[in-house]
Amino acid sequence: MADEPIVHKEFSLTRRALLTAGAVGGVGLFFGRQLQSAVGAALSSTGSSLANFLPGGDQFRIYTVTNGYPSVSTGGYQLALSGLFTKPVSLDFAHLEALGVTKLTADFQCVTGWRVPKVPWAGVRLSTLVELGAPDRSVKAFEFYSYDGVYTESLTYDQAMRRDVLVATRMFDQPISREHGGPVRLYVAPMYGYKSIKWLSQIRAVDQATPGYWEQQGYAVNAWIGRSNGRTDPPVI
């Protein structure tokens, strides 16, 4: 065995590592939102797509609550207006396109923290479809259903009639891809992304809405961005 000088200080590396991890965790859980905002701002200012890939950066994450994604062609697509509409009707994709195009550019903000800034959307205002279906006077809300057979969402009547709620058929000047919820999805600009149901199949007019998929797991029904512990900068319209 080689000669070794007297040991001056010896400590438990494991204890220090655990304390450090605890501190990082504590700082992260309490200040993570601000940290992420700061990092996100710094990364986006570089304009680099690699920077967007890093944590805090601005990139889409594709979520689904079922195994895989439904496959719906524009040819086979149908949007049903059901429930308490006085003129319940089923619209195919061509009919939707014929109703005219509204463009809306706004941020997509997920409740878990990531945001994609200034996404260009195009489609038909939800309010246009509501008027088409002519809801009964008792209607207070709308429920939304997906081709995945599982996901559901809801909006109050006033929320649905907002100018910044779209039944979207295009994003980034392209048809909405399958993983992004195409051919038709909802886009609710002032609310967290989970309200923007993908693979929209049905709009049902009701007098009382059943809370949707994530709301039943504890997330807010009225998912306004910035008014519930999210990033404080509002989406740009």
């Binding site: 992260g28 994450r61 923290g113």
Partner: protein, 209 residues
């Protein structure tokens, strides 16, 4: 102790703990990458299956080391090794000062870099487990907390991936150490004979050379 030859093989329980943890980490990194990288996730498709694997393996990943820690010193060579990996001495500080040369002093079989690697992974995996459970569960924490957990989870994932690549590089460029972990479990004749009696008296000081 810079001579690469004559490394005593690690005992099999120690190897098992290592292999179980390493395999878990690899599965976590791969499934994590699929979940994090959009185009990759789209290519693989079945997100809920990947999520399930990631969560279950994540929970499992800390168990091999934790179960080794439950044993008492002197009874379990694996526990003795973990004690050695945990102890940071003056020699380790000097080993770090010698970087990028890897010829600094050691107080035991493990050098400072190996101790840092082991402890970073141990503490890191526990932090990943905590933040991961917040992400995966429906515990009603605030959205700010949930965002913070997600951010830390992503950040530490990058750190652990980086440390893993470093560890892999070291392992692949040091054949004697690689043999100690993956080679024949029978100790080499001479080294074993010299330390036989010392082993019985001071198992932790003589956890192989």
């Amino acid at each position: 102790m810079t001579d690469e030859s004559g490394r005593t093989p690690f005992p099999s329980a120690f190897r098992t703990m290592h292999h179980a943890t390493a395999l878990s980490l690899i599965v976590l990194l791969v499934t994590g990458a699929i979940l994090y990288i959009g185009p990759l996730g789209v290519a693989v498709g079945d997100r809920s299956l990947i999520v399930a694997i990631h969560i279950y393996v994540g929970i499992f990943s800390v168990l091999p080391v934790l179960s080794a820690l439950v044993h008492s010193r002197g009874v379990s060579p694996t526990k003795d090794a973990l004690v050695l990996l945990s102890r940071w001495t003056d020699a380790d500080r000097r080993w770090i000062e010698r970087l990028p040369k890897l010829d600094g002093p050691r107080s035991s079989r493990f050098n400072a870099g190996q101790k840092l690697n082991a402890n970073t992974n141990f503490a890191g995996l526990l932090l990943m487990l905590l933040t991961g459970l917040i992400m995966a569960s429906y515990i009603p924490v605030s959205i700010a907390t949930r965002q913070g957990a997600t951010f830390i989870h992503d950040l530490v994932a990058f750190l652990l991936a980086f440390v893993f690549l470093g560890h892999l590089t070291m392992a692949l460029t040091h054949p004697a150490s690689l043999r100690a972990m993956f080679g024949s479990a029978r100790p080499r004749g001479r080294a074993h004979a010299n330390h036989e009696e010392e082993d019985e008296r001071h198992p932790e000081e003589n956890f192989g050379r």
